[in-house]
């Protein structure tokens, strides 16, 4: 039983750490604000959720403490992570941050332009 618990804890925490590393690498390597938002909103959310899950398992299976605040934290991160990514992307677009020059298509440009002209 303790072996299974250990495997579970180590697996979730190292999984989370790897994805935090992916986030950091993505923020450095990707070319523009929008592609960086991909790395930041997805990998960071999954990474932190997974680390918190590992901490929860550690305290539950090893120390016998059922800490429901960690579970709430996971749910809150899950809900707010993507909204944060969306808000940053939208704010960047509306304040005129350019897409990467190798981008192939932009359907939103005309809509925003039309809206600006109407005002």
């Amino acid at each position: 039983m303790t072996v299974i618990a250990n495997i579970l804890i180590i697996a979730t925490i190292s999984f989370g750490t790897i994805f935090i590393l992916v986030t950091a690498l993505g923020l450095i390597r990707l070319p523009d604000a929008y592609s960086r938002a991909h790395a930041a909103s997805k990998s960071a959310t999954l990474g932190i959720m997974s680390i918190l899950l590992g901490v929860f398992f550690h305290f539950w299976l090893k120390e016998g403490i059922f800490n429901s605040r960690i579970l709430l934290g996971i749910v809150f991160l899950f809900v707010t992570g993507p909204v944060g990514g969306h808000m940053m992307g939208r704010a960047a677009y509306l304040s005129g941050v350019k897409l990467w020059d190798k981008s192939v298509r932009d359907d939103l440009a005309e809509v925003v332009k039309k809206k600006r002209e109407q005002q």
């Binding site: 990707l30 999954l46 992307g89 939208r90 677009y93 897409l99 990467w100 440009a109």
Partner: protein
């Protein structure tokens, strides 16, 4: 749906009163009996049996967890490639969803899944503008979202 749950709790409490025992186990037995009663009487409700909807929610949650893990592996694969062969794009996706919570749920799901982020929702709530990190074909991208998430959300919200 809320009415059916309320009715079920009411039946469970009635069962507790009938058997003069106020323990959680009696409540659970009464709840299961009430569930059977509601299952037999499901034709007389205007909405569908509420366990159906709960089952659809559970399926949506698992679909979501699966897609979340897959999306993170795809980001990992993109980032460790030395040449960065990505083709970003923003495309418009029409949606048939109407209520605000459905659209919010859909855009959250899209944001957390492979290579897509919602940048804007049009004023009439009919189009989502999605930034895709590695873009080949509009129809393919739209279809894959429609087939999975939109269908699952419709399954939850249909009355």
């Amino acid at each position: 749906m809320a009415f059916q749950i309320l009715l079920n709790v009411f039946i469970a409490i009635t069962w507790m009163f009938l058997s003069v025992s106020f323990k959680p186990t009696t409540f659970i037995i009464g709840y299961i009996l009430g569930l059977l009663m509601l299952l037999m009487l499901r034709k007389s409700f205007s909405s569908r049996f509420y366990l159906d909807r709960i089952w659809a929610v559970i399926k949506l949650a698992f679909l979501f967890l699966k897609e979340l893990t897959l999306s993170n592996f795809s980001v990992l694969m993109l980032i460790i490639k030395p040449k960065m062969p990505i083709r970003p794009a923003i495309f418009a996706m029409p949606t048939v969803l109407e209520k605000d919570w459905e659209i919010t749920l859909l855009s959250n799901l899209i944001t957390l899944t492979p290579g897509t982020i919602v940048i804007d929702v049009s004023d009439d709530n009919k189009t989502l503008y999605i930034h895709s990190i590695d873009f080949d074909n509009v129809d393919e991208a739209i279809n894959s979202i429609k087939e999975t998430f939109e269908k699952a959300i419709l399954e939850v919200s249909r009355s």
